[in-house]
């Protein structure tokens, strides 16, 4: 049984501009100890998918629907606030993008960390303090006892993100939801944090759902990758398969658009024409059809289902032409 099994997740936001289908029927599973990358551009629904699973979509304006969100044998969909609070930060933890705004500026680091253990593990503050100091040492923060007394503004961005990671791991969760954990950081600090996350995962066996737009980060961290576009999953594959032989035209276009440190620096970058779709007015067919070089008439008629490939049941593509397009790189690679 997978650790996490999400089936038919829908998230809708009712706005003045109409109903926005942010997540439109997403299904996936995550195994214990696995790192699953969830990639896509802004507005593709990747963060909303994450938030919906742990009941963090404000309602109104949001509405969440799902057939099931099974986590470690228990159903998360439909839990009330009190039950969900027992899950969040305890069994499932989160790290957010912005280490500047995700810590409370008015409380000391120590107070914010011990709260987690007092709440979930019923420890006294004194007991919790010792565990928290160990937690900080674990994420490579020197002088943890002194750091516990400090406030967020006294720490650099990299240090704050380490504190966030330490906080997320205090209750030894089985699943860590990491939403763009290194996007706000400089590249040398990002390298430190990625290395740390890898080491901690190895040590504790935590599964990670890594939401990011950075294909380089995914390539280095994830075992498998889900690609989202217009609120739907368009491709799912092992990291090696996805980067080696992308099968959805959006995936291959995305990979070809990324400037890299290898390859011809003089060559013009491949670019996908047009812009991502308006989620309040999705086309009736494939959401990528208006930008796709391989679209034919059928593509505009109905939404292609995410179907396993004939030659490899471990990967699935939502493209009517997936079987005939073996390398739909748009002529770029």
């Amino acid at each position: 049984m997978p650790l996490l099994d999400v089936q038919d997740l829908f998230v809708r936001f009712d706005t003045h501009g109409g109903s926005v289908r942010a997540v439109d029927g997403v299904s996936f599973t995550l195994e214990e100890g696995e790192t699953l990358g969830l990639v896509g551009e802004s507005g593709s629904g990747k963060s909303v998918t994450n938030l919906a699973m742990i009941g963090l979509i404000p309602s109104p304006p949001g509405t969440v629907q799902a057939k099931t969100i099974q986590f470690d044998g228990r159903e998360l969909f439909g839990l009330d606030d009190v039950e969900m609070r027992h899950v969040r930060g305890n069994l499932i933890s989160m790290i957010f993008q912005d280490p500047m705004t995700s810590l409370n500026p008015l409380l000391s680091i120590g107070r914010q960390l011990t709260e987690v253990l007092e709440l979930h593990k019923k420890m006294t503050r004194k007991e919790a303090r010792g565990v928290c100091a160990e937690g900080l040492a674990d994420v490579g923060i020197p002088n943890p006892e002194r750091r516990l007394k400090q406030f967020p503004h006294e720490l650099s961005g990299g240090m704050r993100q380490r504190v966030m990671i330490a906080m997320a791991l205090l209750c030894k969760p089985k699943l860590l939801l990491a939403d763009e954990p290194t996007t706000a950081l400089d590249v040398t600090i990002q390298a430190q944090i990625l290395e740390l996350m890898g080491a901690l995962q190895h040590k504790h066996g935590t599964a990670i759902l890594l939401v990011t737009h950075d294909l380089g980060v995914v390539a280095g961290m994830a075992d498998r990758v889900n690609v989202m576009y217009g609120g739907r999953l368009v491709e799912t594959a092992t990291t090696d398969d996805l980067f080696g032989t992308p099968r959805h035209p959006y995936t291959s276009g995305l990979l070809a658009s990324v400037p890299t440190l290898a390859g011809d620096a003089e060559a013009e970058l491949f670019s996908i024409p047009g812009a991502p779709p308006d989620l309040a007015a999705l086309p009736p067919g494939c959401a990528f059809e208006p930008r796709c070089a391989h679209a034919d008439t059928r593509c505009a008629e109905r939404v292609p289902p995410l179907e396993p490939l004939a030659e490899n049941a471990g990967r699935a593509v939502a493209c009517l032409r997936a079987e005939e397009l073996t390398s739909p790189a748009g002529g770029a690679s």
């Binding site: 240090m159 040398t188 990002q190 380089g216 280095g220 890299t260 013009e268 812009a275």
Partner: protein
Amino acid sequence: MSLPLLTVEGLHKHFTVAGRPLRAVDGISLELERGQTLGLVGESGCGKSTAARTIIGLYPATAGSVKFEGHELTGLSRRGWEPYRQRMQMIFQDPYASLDPRQTVTSILTEPLRIHSLGKPRKRKLRAMQLLDAVGLNPRHLNRYPHEFSGGQRQRIGIARALALEPDVILCDEPVSALDVSIQAQIVNLLEELQERFDLAYLFIAHDLAVVRHICRRIAVMYLGKIVEIADRAELFENPSHPYTRSLLSAIPHPDPVAERNRTRIVLEGDVPSPIDPPSGCTFHPRCPDREKVAGERCVREVPELVTLEGGRRHACHLEPGSSHGC
């Protein structure tokens, strides 16, 4: 050799924070040739944006010189600046914050012409339509407001505005870092196309070295207000000489799982120090992986000069070039 379009020498920009000097730009020198792109890269707080803003006169320089075709720009009055403003323009990072939400596209694009009293109103509107066409937008969208455009389209409007006065130089301050990958590639290609068409020189500020590698022929790497290395693209990427450049390159994740598994990353320890209280000697020394290769405590005591090496490369490091290539 002809005069470079833009020559920056020993440029300083200091601020005062809580009564103490903050040397945001601490003596940088660079040249920009006509029609060329010079990249200025570094992590947040290294002073790259302040450098650009000081070069274009948005901040008065604390010391040093900026010459446009040999004419000194620092210390010029507002009036004195006027002829040069037309020839140097700027594109900003955030396409949401850099356009006035209450102005139509026409108004945004003709404002530079109005300020410099160029053309009659009808001609100006025609010019605005040409500009929209040049950046790949529909000229019929002249009467729309910024909120009616996507992020990528807004960045195109920002570029069109910068082109309005037919400048020779555009300072691009992180022009693609707020954009999604598929849109980023469109804008990079547009900037390259416009450069060829209008013979533009770009000072291209970015933290993404992969983007810089695509668009820049020559690249300057900054750390704590100083340039630590300047080299041509091939040299910098294939054979970086300063330990900071090498660490920076090695920290970039590659979108290739096989390459990611097989590489050894130089992970720098610690954070970028505060520019209010920079380390002594070489400001990179507390984080430098090669510090022990330099005899004595030279890196701690002595600020390394930016010296010219073979092939026009310059670097500021006490280490002999070529003696540190362990990666």
